[in-house]
Symmetry: C2
Subunit: 216 residues, 2 copies
DNA sequence: GAGCATACCTACTCGTGCGTAGGGTTACGC
DNA sequence: GCGTAACCCTACGCACGAGTAGGTATGCTC
């Protein structure tokens, strides 16, 4: 029953704030490797170098823990992007910096990205949270496009704009996935490629050239 | 202990092939609603109007069952696309028909799409299967772009082409997700929008206009 | 240095859900 | 009409993992 003879405790006592971050680190790692359901609280606790009840005491149930991961990683990503893309720059410059920051983040936080996009998406309880974040990004991209077009005296229906923005965000996520899976890939180069597809392609399109389905 | 008084069996005896399809239908439905882990074999069996041991007898373990779902839905989708996009058509026509068939399929099989993309992606055991399918699509799209460009006398490095194709496939999946979530959305219209982004945008880009990162 | 909050543990309970044992009934060939 | 194979069931065993009970040690305040 006696836990440990009171001589030299093998573990260090650390302040709550520190342990919480360690736990989140471990949780993100394990969730991203195993997936939400397959991950066990025991493994997470173990990986954090702590016992399970501590995790429950600090971060709550498994679902709450996952949400906390989602929140931390999502906030970090958003901050990385927002910090890079100052709103007073011209649209193409903003887009470029935003993309570079984004791919940089994904390259440096592959685990976080996996949690965010590969896991959260499949599990109902969290899909909403994710969708909201994505909606914000679509809005930002649509805003950029709109701004750039107005500057050239053109105007496009909002719905149309949003769909294009949606497609661009999807393309970006897709390349991010690719990046996360290829350790040797260069974030900067990937960002350049995406910039090509997004800026040159979409701007061209919205400037006037339109494809229409054949009569048949 | 006696199962049922031998008078009128409440269930029909059906040949294996039929029951298997019913089970798969139920499995796709339940997996897409709950996710792989949260789905229970009991619920699937129940939904199929059959008892659990039958599912094990015909389709094997839960993992095997999921793979079977993946296989059926994936094959159906590929066939729908391949059947529409005959290889002797011009590239833009092929792309258009392929996209229309794809979005038509997603619109008609929202459950299947959810299983395929939202679930399979998160769970390690199936991610590979999915990645292979996606790789085939990327290859096809890259082939189309390449063909169209050669016809106009231009040539592009294969790696570059593949990344663009990857982005386009990602954009398409993204719109498919959007379509699956919006019951009121029109597949045909969505296909037209994607066609705009893909054909006009990408072709334009690959024809010469290129964006390059600023010196800073 | 007594009291109290905080950090931390081991060792459970208990539900849930996969997979199976063991057996019953209908159709079909011969 | 009789075996035998194909269908189909109810009712479990059993492992795994979420969450908790109950207790110990350490540092900080006064």
């Amino acid at each position: 029953m006696l836990a440990r003879v009171s001589s030299t405790p093998a573990f260090k006592r650390l302040p709550r704030a520190v342990r919480e971050q360690q736990m989140l680190d471990a949780a993100v790692k394990v969730f991203s490797r195993r997936g939400f359901h397959a991950a066990s609280m025991d493994e997470i606790a173990d990986d954090a170098g702590i016992s399970k009840p501590m995790v429950y005491a600090y971060l709550g149930t498994k679902e709450e823990l996952f949400v906390a991961c989602l929140h931390r990683e999502g906030t970090r990503m958003m901050q990385a992007i927002a910090g890079a893309a100052a709103p007073d720059l011209p649209a193409d410059e903003r887009l470029w910096r935003g993309l570079r920051a984004f791919f940089g983040f994904v390259g440096a936080h592959r685990d976080g990205w996996a949690v965010l996009y590969r896991q959260a998406r499949g599990e109902q309880p969290f899909a909403g949270e994710l969708a909201a974040m994505r909606a914000r990004m679509v809005e930002v991209v649509a805003g950029m496009l709109d701004h750039a077009l107005r500057a050239e005296g053109r105007e496009v229906a909002e719905a149309e704009l949003e769909v294009v923005a949606y497609a661009l965000v999807g393309a970006t996520e897709s390349l991010a996935d690719w990046l996360a899976d290829h350790a040797e890939a260069d974030p900067e180069k990937t960002a350049t490629r995406m910039m090509n597809v997004a800026w040159v392609g979409a701007a061209q399109l919205l400037q006037g050239t339109t494809w229409r389905p054949p009569a048949a």
